[in-house]
């Protein structure tokens, strides 16, 4: 195996990749589009329920504790101003308390409260706000229930500082970038097998080992560079950059192994494409679970990409470090080794 030959094969693969218009366009466009999607999404999550009120001073003072519970109160000077604010969409809901609210409550009367709902409000929230107001007034009236709610918070308490959707989406984007590389590499190899280029290469002094090394370096390098670029542009390398780079490198090795396997099972580009799409869908499930928590349960851990997605998610969004994700990294490395070995074995059989 000599370096010049390896470099020549890698160069040839790179040229072939960009000669294929589909993958050339997808490679560049996808990176730009993913970064664009990331920056288009809001960087914060609004966790507040906004309510406009027109009320006696005492009532608004009593309402202050609600703000700690995620209810943001906006006071208006008159009922008319409150109604206009609802119509203009400044607040989705307006509440008008009567002047004698507190005295009426003290006398045990049931005062009348006006709730103005914006026509834009989804039906479920239209039903909810009146209940919210009733409970709010019950709080003001000091009507307590003899029920003790013993609460336990499970996981890291992120209330008030939720992870923005775009940062939850980052592992999904990374999986997509890696998988597009899988589609490209598997199509490239299967086409080379179909057209006989591989056999032509193997009758030169290039050995089978040399060919696999070159393809491996190209696959791993290309996938790693793309996914690193994405992380760099989106700020994914700010926390624990070395750890993230190691996770991405091991993931790149794993997807290269998957690409070898797919190529060995495909007869042309179309066949590699649909098998690759199927693999993409499966590998994207753990990332979807980060984006939409609760989607799956423990079975998700059988999908190899879970260990990459979870590690990236923990590091980026929960400040995890080496100690917290080393098991993920170890399992990911084991998957990478198995896929690479299987891929090389299957391709070697196909070349024969």
């Amino acid at each position: 195996m000599n370096r010049e030959m390896l470099a020549a094969v890698i160069r040839k693969d790179l040229v072939l990749w960009f000669k294929n218009r589909f993958f050339a366009v997808v490679t560049v466009l996808a990176l730009v589009a993913y970064a664009g999607i990331y920056y288009l999404l809001p960087s914060e999550i609004d966790e507040t329920l906004e309510i406009g009120i027109f009320a006696p001073v005492a009532a608004s003072a009593l309402a202050a504790p609600l703000e700690e519970e995620g209810v943001l109160l906006q006071e208006y000077a008159s009922e008319l101003a409150l109604k206009e604010a609802v119509i203009e969409g400044e607040v989705p809901v307006g509440v008008r308390f009567p002047d004698d609210l507190l005295s009426a409550l003290a006398l045990g009367e049931r005062p009348l409260v006006d709730v103005y709902l914006s026509a834009d409000l989804p039906q479920e929230f239209s039903d909810l706000y009146p209940i919210l107001v009733e409970e709010w007034v019950a709080l003001m009236a000091g009507t307590s229930m003899p029920v003790e709610f013993n609460e336990e918070i499970l996981g890291v308490d992120k209330a008030g500082s939720l992870t923005p959707t775009r940062d939850r989406m980052l592992p999904l984007l990374a999986v997509f970038v890696l998988m597009v590389e899988v589609l490209g590499l598997s199509s490239l190899i299967s086409e080379e097998v179909t057209t006989g280029t591989i056999q032509a290469l193997l009758i030169t002094p290039l050995s089978t080992e040399g060919l696999f090394t070159a393809k491996g370096i190209f696959g791993v390098g290309f996938a790693f560079i793309q996914v690193t670029l994405l992380m760099l542009v989106t700020g994914g390398l700010i926390k624990e950059p070395l750890l993230i780079l190691v996770i991405l490198l091991v993931s790149a090795v794993m997807v290269t192994g998957i690409a070898f396997l797919l190529a060995s099972a495909s007869k042309d580009m179309m066949s590699a494409m649909w098998k690759g799409m199927l693999a993409l869908l499966i590998l994207a499930i753990p990332a979807m679970n980060v984006l939409l928590p609760g989607l799956t349960s423990d079975w998700i851990k059988v999908i190899p990409s879970f260990y990459m997605v979870d590690a990236v998610h923990q590091v980026i969004n929960f400040d995890a470090s080496w100690g917290a994700v080393w098991t993920n990294l170890l399992i990911l490395a084991a998957f990478a080794a198995v896929f690479l070995a299987l891929g090389v074995f299957a391709l070697r059989r196909k070349f024969r």
């Binding site: 909810l128 209940i131 009733e134 029920v147 013993n150 209330a159």
Partner: protein
């Protein structure tokens, strides 16, 4: 052009082409996406807060909670199942109602409820759930609400649910895969495999081939549009007008697909071209998703006329009078595309000869 030859080609397309990956994708993708979206928007993408309940007795609370539109309620068999669901975010808050809970609160006796809160649950979801839980407790205990609420809805705008916003996108996708991809990929594949040359040196003309592939495309696109509308519970309004608009839209997509098939030399180039044009083709559907964007912009894109009339008929109950101008533009676009495709096909045939 011979009808018999077109019939033979049609049969060949149906028997051989239907095993093709793109053909299967055209049938499967709209169905899968529709079902997936129904699942996601029914639960996962919903703004509604999720409450998990374990009822150790026979409380009325689970049934009453399930009746509240603001909540998505799931019942669990035991506390450990509930805890596991809360810790992975399947529900925002979970509570365990002890046996005899309703009787205790009704008798104003102290009761304890174990509650679990998912750490990544937002303040708004927590506020909604805690308020709703309190309201449910009061309800079961027979407490009268401390105030009388009078609700008034202000303004004219109506909230457009995400399911409705996404419908044009799914519909356009069904038309595009069936109408554009099926004939274009089939044509490009035949050119790549040189079977197109073999066919056209027989008495079969390129026109016969294009017509057969076009008919298949229209059938697939129109059928899958109807299926997509039905799956999304959106098949409504004037059925004849709706099917007419869907067929016209499918014809436009098919002729565009045939043009792409004629112009591109192989499958790779075809996919590259479609990918590069994706944003323009799907732009009207993206604009429809965001009502904040002036909706007239969508009309600048030819693909708007594929979905625009259909959406107006199904979601706004429009009749022929309302959608006629758009249908006329659609017919003009179809005629223009036929002319361009015929010209391109003739040039290709001449070049090949």
């Amino acid at each position: 052009m011979s009808i018999r030859r077109i019939g033979v080609l049609l049969w060949k397309e149906l028997s051989k082409g239907s095993r093709n990956f793109i053909f299967i994708m055209a049938l499967v993708v709209p169905v899968v996406i529709s079902l997936l979206l129904a699942l996601l928007f029914g639960t996962f993408f919903s703004d509604r807060a999720k409450l998990g309940i374990v009822d150790e007795g026979s409380s009325q609370i689970p049934a009453r909670a399930a009746a509240m539109e603001a909540l998505i309620v799931r019942e669990f068999d035991n506390a450990s199942e509930l805890k596991e669901a809360v810790s992975r975010g399947a529900v925002d808050i979970g509570m365990v109602l002890p046996e005899g809970f309703d009787d205790r609160v009704a008798a104003r006796e102290p009761a304890e409820v174990a509650g679990y809160i998912w750490g990544e649950s937002g303040l708004d979801s927590r506020a909604i759930l805690v308020t709703s839980i309190l309201a449910l407790f009061r309800d079961v205990a027979g407490y009268e609400p401390p105030v009388e609420i009078v609700t008034t809805t202000l303004g004219e705008a109506q909230a457009l649910p995400w399911e409705d916003r996404l419908l044009p996108f799914i519909l356009l996708m069904a038309v595009m895969i069936g109408g554009v991809m099926v004939p274009a990929a089939s044509l490009a594949q035949e050119r790549q495999d040189r079977t197109l040359v073999a066919l056209t040196i027989t008495p079969t003309t390129l026109g016969d081939v294009l017509t057969a592939k076009g008919i298949i495309g229209v059938l697939v696109a129109a059928t899958m549009s109807v299926v997509t509308l039905a799956l999304n519970r959106a098949f409504g309004g004037d059925a004849v007008l709706l099917i007419g608009a869907l067929v016209l839209g499918s014809i436009m997509a098919v002729i565009f697909g045939l043009l792409l098939g004629v112009m591109t030399k192989d499958i790779n180039t075809l996919f590259g071209t479609i990918k590069a044009m994706g944003l323009i083709l799907y732009a009207p559907a993206f604009i429809f998703m965001f009502p904040e964007i002036p909706q007239w912009i969508a009309r600048l894109f030819p693909t708007y006329y594929i979905i625009g009339p259909v959406i107006e008929i199904t979601q706004m109950g429009a009749g022929l009078e309302e959608v006629l101008p758009e249908l006329i533009i659609l017919v003009v676009l179809i005629l223009a595309l036929i002319a361009v495709t015929a010209y391109a096909a003739r040039r290709k045939s001449e070049a090949a000869a």
